[in-house]
Every structure is written in structure tokens, then in C-alpha cells.
Symmetry: C2
């Protein structure tokens, strides 16, 4: 069975996934449960994330991904990483091949933008699921940084959620 | 009656309104008629646009806005401008006040990103209506350039259109 690479992420109306300092205060009125994150996580075997995302998540009170394999794309060692978290440097294609060889059915491409860009660039991203927040930030970390390869997607569904957010799903075209 | 400032624009999934050279080839499969542009234009008294947008539209075979007042935000004179097109330099607040004094009911804030940013910054943008195209460009002119003021919006409607585009309307929150 082929690995399904699934990005599930909240994004501002101007395509930012975090403020310049990595913070998410603007997401507080829009809980991830509204966008099916619990059912989604239950289907995920492994999580792929960049070092910036890891550092922000690791800095929170509790590690939210206990019981999941987590691969952090980084060239620097992790200090006191939680169980089942591993660091991998180098080429994203090699990292992806290694994860596929482990037989994962579904990998959450959590972020940030550079990891998503690289997964797109190697043609692996199967699904892009977004909570589109009705707020322009004006600055911050882009979901699609300059240099993301041009990519056509196929709209699967779009459902309005509380507070005027949109829950949008695109698949690879 | 107060002037209603209405932006109606097509945007890629990564928030680009044109390629780096200003071109729109990626919009060809998504005709503006799908997003109600004709009925919209019929309701518009005047159009506000930046110099880059003007130069692209002016370069096309026919001037599409005959019969509409058009204000181009620019500090350089226009050459052989079509009838009813005027150039205005300087402060966007002064330009907007002048247009309001003319009694326009609805102004199309056509673009580009710098004009939309400035209209947002002076708190005038009443409606943001977008054709969201299911394609990541990876480069180009952003709808919300860095430095756009943080702005909360209110979702009015979201309707899927042909080819997986989304027709989304936000109003000022």
C-alpha cells in the first residue's frame, strides 16, 4: 500500500501559517477540532515536520504526538526529544523514501512552509487540507514560500466552519 | 449615500494576482464571467487601479472599461489615455476622498496589491470578492504584500465554480 502524504494546516487569508516569531495566537478562536483534527490524527501513522515547527510544538506544555512516529527535518541534533521522535538531515526525497519503506499508510506533512514546499517539489503531496482563517496577518511565515513549484490542484470540498473559517480540501490534480 | 469600496479579483492558491511579469495566462481556464464579473461591472461607477494594472489592461487590444470613470494611482503621466481615465498621484486617502465627493456608489478596487493594501490601510475596503484558482504559482505579485495591515474579515459566501475554483466573498468585520 502506497503512503499517502497529507498536509493539514491552518492558514491566514494571506497564506501565512504563523506570525514572524512562529506564534499562533490568531488561531485561538478557531480550534483545530472544528477541522476534524482528532479523527485526522487517529488515521496518521507518522508526522513529518521542519525544525521550526518542532521547536514551537516542543516548547508547549505537553508533547501532543505521543504514540506517533515523528520525523524532524533538521541538520542539528534534538535535545531531549520525546520518544519516537527522530531527526533526519539532508535530502527530502531520501527521507520520504525511508518513511515509505517503513510502511506508513498516512503521513501528516505538518509544516512548515519549507517542508511542504519540498514535499510538493518531489511530487509527493497527495492532499492539502486547510483551515482558511478570515484574517489577513500582513506578515509571517508563508505556507507557499517563493520558489514553491507551480502546481495544479483539484478541489475536493469546501465547507464553511464557525467564525467564517473555510475548511478546504485539495488533492493532487 | 456612502461609497462602497469593492475589490473583485482572481488569486492563485498562494495569493498571487499575476506572474512576476504581470501575466494572467493561468486564468484562461477560469473566465471572469463564472464569477459574475458582468453583473458586477454593471453596478460599478468607477474603477481604482495601480499603474502596473493599468499598463497591462491598456496593453490589451480594446480598452474594456469604456463608459466608466477610471482613476489610476501613479506619479507618471499617462500617454494617450482612454476617455474618462485620469491619473492621480500622492496620498490614497486624498484620492479616495475625492472619489467619494464625486458621489460614486460603488468603486471597483481592481488592483494591484499595493492599491488594495493602501485601501485596506485607510479602512475603506468594504468587500473582498475573490476567484480562488486551484493552482500554486510559486512566484508573482501578491494580493496581500508584506506590510498589509492586520485585518479581520467576515465570510459572506463561498461557492465552488467550474474547474475547482472558489468564488469567495468577505466583508469588513
Amino acid at each position: 500500500m502506497r503512503t499517502f502524504w497529507h498536509c493539514h494546516i491552518a492558514v491566514s487569508l494571506d497564506g501565512r501559517i504563523a506570525r514572524p516569531d512562529g506564534s499562533f495566537d490568531w488561531l485561538e478562536p478557531y480550534p483545530a477540532e472544528e477541522f476534524g483534527i482528532e479523527a485526522f490524527l487517529a488515521e496518521v501513522d507518522a508526522i513529518l515536520m521542519g525544525r521550526g515547527t518542532y521547536d514551537v510544538v516542543r516548547g508547549a506544555a505537553d508533547w501532543p504526538y505521543a504514540g506517533k512516529d515523528v520525523v524532524v527535518v533538521t541538520n542539528r541534533p534534538l535535545q531531549e526529544a520525546p520518544d519516537r521522535v527522530t531527526a533526519r538531515g539532508g535530502d527530502i526525497a531520501a527521507i520520504a523514501a525511508e518513511m515509505e519503506a517503513r510502511g506508513y499508510r498516512r503521513v501528516w506533512v505538518e509544516g512548515g512552509g519549507q517542508v511542504i514546499r519540498q514535499v510538493l517539489a518531489i511530487g509527493k503531496l497527495d492532499r492539502l487540507e486547510m483551515a482558511v482563517i478570515p484574517r489577513v496577518l500582513g506578515a509571517g511565515i508563508p505556507l507557499f514560500p517563493q520558489g514553491t513549484p507551480e502546481t495544479a490542484l483539484r478541489l475536493v470540498s469546501c465547507v464553511p466552519r464557525a467564525g467564517g473559517a473555510l475548511h478546504v480540501i485539495y488533492d493532487r490534480a
